[in-house]
Amino acid sequence: MKLRKMNAAIGGTILGAIALAAGIGLFWTPFDPVTLGYAKRLAAPDAVHWLGTDEFGRDVLSRLMTAAATSARISVLTVATAVLLGTLVGVLSGYLRGWTDRVLMAFNDALLAFPGILLALGFLAVAGANEYGIVVALGIAYAPSVARIVRGTVMSLREMDYIAASRLMGNSEFFIVWRHVLPNCVAPLVVLATSMFGWALLAESALSFLGLGVPPPAPTWGNMLAGSRPFIAKAVWLAIFPGACISLTLLGINLLGDALRDRLDPRMRNT
């Protein structure tokens, strides 16, 4: 009991701190994140450049702050895409049943039985590497998990008496779904969306690390890490800080996600 609260507190603090840094980074960074400064290349962390500079003399802290906002934006958009798409499919499937359900779920399960990152790689091979390519690719890859959960919830809800009562009152099917069905899907979706935010962040970093994500010079944690590889012997801080940012954020999400699951998902209580 106490442990769960502590986990939530630690996770929340980490995420809050990173969100704050990202928020500040939108308006102000200590140095310009993309301006080249040849005078001070590969400088170790010191009083001026707290986290050092990279091979082009750009301030690492400033770039990390800018990158945080980029990663957060991509992850939020990805999760939003997946939730919208998955909810649509899940509601249609679970509410209409019959052939609609069978066909949609056949596609859904085929997609679900496929590694998301591979789907994204295939999509990016066609669409080319850019921010919105990632959002669409990962959004499609994660939507089937959402659809599964929503479908399950909707299927159990549609047999409820209050749905029948609402129908007898003459409410339209659309109103019933909007007013009575969707609100009940929120709790399980919050739990899933939290983990998905982590998956999206990790996948985006991995794709950027491979050079298939957000193209430079715009910084992301993944492409900063990729850029650090040739200099790892001379300037290890270039590799340490972006990776630490990704790990800390994921840790925060995992801790918070566990706490949320314990709270919102009664089946997982006490495990």
Binding site: L3, A106, F107, D109, A110, L111, A113, F114, P115, I117, L118, L121, G122, L124, A125, V126, L202, S205, A206, F209, L210, G211, L212, L225, A226, S228, R229, I232, A233, V236, A239, I240, P242, G243, A244, I246, S247, L248, L250, L251, I253, N254, L255, D258, T271
Partner: protein, 314 residues
């Protein structure tokens, strides 16, 4: 049992079919002539016309798809634009490199994580449990490519114990091959252990609450016997399924680790082909990984009844 096997085989078919169709349409989503894309810039008019005919590009999409599907079934995945090699042998050569690392890593990770997860569940909320769960949560939060870079820096550059980058094949020099495998395997083991411990713990906890465990204890069995004979076999199922998923996901996601350690595996081949617009190889890699992924999950499911016969009867 036979019905279980047949049903499971039938369930795998749509997944393969849909991934096949997705890969087929992939190349047709790109603006331009698919034959020209598949042959690259250097193609002459004659071979272009020949491929046009073989792909059935002068006919409708359904004909094109059935032609394509027949070629897939015969293992004809075309030739690489960049090297001219047949795609299938290229993909298999690179797959062997990745598979060796992935299978060793997942086997080690499972051997560590399953007992550790059971111990954690057995001592639920004790110091050991909290320690193991915290360690697992931290491990699974560290992306494998960063962990790999840090291990490479520490053991390869600072301490100089292990070779930093590259790959030596077993047939050339088995000892060197092993030393080159240590860091990539360690990277994957650490990461996957974090995922598997949590699953092993959660499923053991579910089982430890059941009546027959209380019964086994009350008839005086030692804790070791309770855990091993009664809890393990029933709790291992979900972890076993997850091991299959982890294996499949690694084959798709190993590109980052291969990039860190410059290993010529399947993930690297796919990424390089994306950069080089080598569409036949991209198609081949995607299809092959989808095939292996389905196959692994199939084998995992078919072996499931070995330790939990209830599944086959259901």
């Amino acid at each position: 049992m036979l019905r279980f096997v047949v049903r499971r085989l039938l369930a795998a078919a749509p997944t393969l079919f849909i991934s096949g169709a997705a890969v087929f349409f992939l190349i047709r989503l790109i603006p331009g002539d698919p034959a020209a894309l598949l042959l690259g810039d250097q193609a002459d008019a004659a071979s272009l016309a020949d491929l046009h005919r073989r792909l059935g590009l002068d006919q409708g999409l359904p004909t094109q798809f059935s032609l394509w599907f027949q070629r897939m079934l015969h293992g004809d995945l075309g030739q690489s634009i960049r090297t001219g090699e047949p795609v299938l042998s290229l993909v298999i050569d690179h797959f062997v490199v990745s598979a060796r690392i992935v299978f060793v890593a997942v086997a080690l990770a499972a051997a560590i994580a399953v007992p550790a997860g059971m111990l954690a569940a057995w001592r639920q909320n004790g110091k050991l449990d909290i320690g193991l769960v915290s360690a697992a949560t931290v491990l699974l939060s560290i992306p494998s490519f960063w962990l790999g870079l840090m291990l490479l820096y520490l053991f390869g550059l600072e301490l100089g114990w292990l070779p930093v980058i590259g790959y030596v094949d077993f047939s050339e020099d088995p000892v060197a091959a092993l030393t080159y495998m240590v860091l990539p395997v360690a990277t994957l083991v650490l990461h996957e252990t974090g995922i598997l411990i949590r699953m092993a713990r959660a499923s053991t906890l579910e089982v430890l609450r059941l009546d027959y465990i209380t019964y086994a204890r009350s008839k005086g069995l030692s804790e070791g016997a309770v855990l091993w004979r009664h809890a393990f076999r029933n709790a291992f199922g979900p972890t076993w399924t997850l091991i299959g998923l982890v294996l499949g996901n690694l084959l798709g996601g190993i590109a980052v680790v291969e990039t860190v350690f410059t290993i010529p595996g399947l993930g690297r081949l796919l990424v390089d082909s994306i950069f080089g617009r080598d569409y036949p190889v991209i198609q081949g890699c995607l299809l092959f990984v989808a095939f292996v992924y389905v196959l692994i999950n199939l084998v995992v499911d078919l072996l499931y009844p070995l330790f939990d016969p209830r599944v086959a009867e259901a």
